[in-house]
Symmetry: C2
Subunit: 404 residues, 2 copies
């Protein structure tokens, strides 16, 4: 029973079949990069907590500078200096100035900073200001960066270096992040041997366990390679029954019809609801199996590494992110196709392509070779998408690309 | 002595001032993802090592099928079956077929595979083939994916999941990668306190140590946070003299003129040649200091986190990659600007922007707020570049963006 879904429908069915069961763990701030924020973080105080100077100069009352010019400078009494990291020694009264450095705390009474370049020290604590400043000029107001109570980062955000910076600013040194989904990765096939083995005639090395665990890691999951499973229903069922510790199971292999049937029937034997669909109208990666048993997702990807990789990127990746509660901010990137590409209508194609820049534009050069060659994804930087309702694209067309 | 360089000149001077001193280390294949390949890897054998079927069906001599059709099928003797992972039991002679599954080893004598869908089992080991196949059809030739001796991955390549797969295919289980550059990160400033401290009036928490070490990590370097250094030449010099174990030193802070002078003079006191330039015509991040002492690079970045980050991305990042011998494949990504943006000619501007998609195109919405607000890079996904010779861009213009 081969139910072939569109890519869009398949993705929707996968994402709606599995509930996020985010377990939270607390990590020190420096370890939180690339992790998924488990709860939204609100600012506990204004940032900055005090008005600051953004220039080296003098804190003044702006109105005392109005009308000042080179030929008619305004004169000020320098009443002291704001030391970095300290409260100002005094407030600023009319006609007074306090020396201040970039980042210094603006004194009471002052509302602007005159850049040192626009002043002249006349000696005897007298300062000539030869340019007027507007209120607020060369300062940051209290809370201008972040206001107390404001959500800095929402739950589900994947923490980037600058987010780590913002959390440091707020004194958040222990961060609640989602636990990494634990992913079991199994390769099936009597032809497979471990990469450190010398394959005999008819044998090939297991690529997918390594390829898929590297991708799982890149998606923020914690992969475990459970090895190579011989192509019998018994061995496969036995292996699947030993994946209780994992949140998601990825099988690959079984490219042949018989083995695909093993995979599907073993998932069904594990429990309910079992296999939800089998086959997606895409190339490469059509023979994709997806099932759910007791809320846990099972993927049966193609044995062919490129197909397995495309299946992973289109379906496993979004699910792993959803399982961690992650909300992705992944902008769609487009490039212009270097040449015509044909495609069957009703099928989504993912063409391996090398990207290059020409006159400020991004171009995609399709890489020739069958979809089952791993060299095409090694030489490529991107997958070029030909939508389902298209019969191909013409040279120069702008197309969506997925960076790999 | 403020020598202000263009972004391009500054980058060139930095990259030409430091020689890559790549030390190599060997790691197990699964740990090699994101690492920089230290030597190029050539294929030790063809991939696949034998011709394979890409379909479930029958291995035949293509010419025996010529002329076959639904109404006039070609008849074959089924002489056996190719088992997965084994050499074929026999060669294929004229009029013979061997059953074969996807990935099976093509028998001697055969040069094509007829899909099972185009055959009919007539019983008694007789097979009707109702469609002709061309030589090579539904097969992969030996070496079609990768040829023995071919360079699979060049030295300096940053290993992606698919590269890990290709290395597994070749039986490379221990990989020579570049050692991660060790980066010392120091924050200077009397106003700084550690993030777990409650700042007093005039104090702020150290953001940059955390922001910059997260970025360094993302560039494949090994950062060490050496803490907060008070704003005296003596303490700074002392701290710098204790960075002997590191390959690169990043200072940040000292936004004020006096402190910037400390940084520059301390680097000069360490040895020759000392500070190479001071200031880059860009915004944010203009007051950038770069020096080299005994071949080791020293950066003095702004104290302001956003400026420090832009300085890191434009200058430190390419140098760290070069130090690891890494060759980046970073396609230029462009987006259309949502609104007019002005810029001073002679200066490169990096505007924080949020990216979004509209009708298949990527747009960049500039984020308002001074360059010194960390919230602008937290809310942004990208830096939008306004080139040096431009006085601004107009709404709808296509501009280069750097994803952050």
């Amino acid at each position: 029973m081969l139910t072939v879904l569109s890519v869009k429908d398949a993705k929707e069915r996968i994402l709606s079949a599995v509930t996020a069961q985010t377990h939270c763990t607390t990590v020190p701030l420096p370890d939180a990069t690339e992790r998924v924020l488990a709860r939204s973080v609100a600012a506990q105080h204004d940032l900055p907590t005090f008005p600051r100077s953004t220039m080296d100069g003098y804190a003044v009352r702006a109105k005392d500078t109005f009308g000042a010019s080179e030929s008619m400078p305004a004169l000020f009494d320098v009443a002291g200096e704001v030391m970095m990291g300290q409260a100002p020694p005094a407030a600023v009264a009319a006609g007074q100035a306090l020396r201040i450095a970039t980042g210094g705390m603006l004194p009471e009474g002052s509302d602007a900073v005159v850049m040192v370049e626009h002043t002249e020290d006349l000696g005897g604590a007298t300062l000539a200001v030869n340019r007027a400043v507007a209120p607020g000029e060369n300062t940051i107001a209290r809370g201008e960066d972040i206001k107390a109570g404001e959500t800095i980062l929402p739950a589900g955000h994947i923490l980037r270096p600058q987010d780590i910076g913002a959390l440091a600013a707020m004194g958040q040194v222990m961060i609640d992040v989602a636990q990494k989904p634990r992913v079991a990765i199994l390769s099936t096939g009597d032809e497979l041997v471990m990469p450190d083995m010398e394959p005999k005639e008819g044998q090939i090395r297991d690529i997918n366990s390594y390829l898929l665990s590297a991708w799982a890691q890149r998606c923020g999951a914690e992969p475990s390679r459970l090895g190579i499973i011989p192509d019998t229903a018994e061995e496969l069922l036995n292996a699947l029954q030993n994946t209780g510790d994992y949140d998601c199971v990825i099988l690959s292999g079984g490219s042949s019809a018989g083995t695909r049937d093993h995979t599907a029937s073993c998932i069904d034997q594990l429990g309910k609801p079992g296999v939800l669909f089998h086959g997606v109208s895409m190339r490469p990666g059509k023979p994709l199996i997806f099932g759910v048993v007791d809320g846990k997702p099972y993927f049966g990807l193609s044995g062919n590494p490129t197909s397995a990789m495309v299946g992973f990127l289109l379906f496993v990746r979004p699910l792993l992110l959803q399982m961690a509660g992650a909300v992705e901010r992944n902008p769609v990137i487009t490039a212009r196709a270097e040449r015509n590409l044909s495609s069957a209508s009703g099928r989504e194609d993912y063409i391996r392509a090398a990207l290059y820049e020409q006159e400020g534009q991004l171009w995609a050069r399709p890489i020739l070779g069958q979809a089952n060659l791993i060299s095409t994804v090694v030489r490529g930087d991107a997958l070029l998408r030909i939508p389902q309702n298209s019969e191909g694209i013409e040279a120069g067309d702008t197309v969506e690309v997925m960076l790999i």
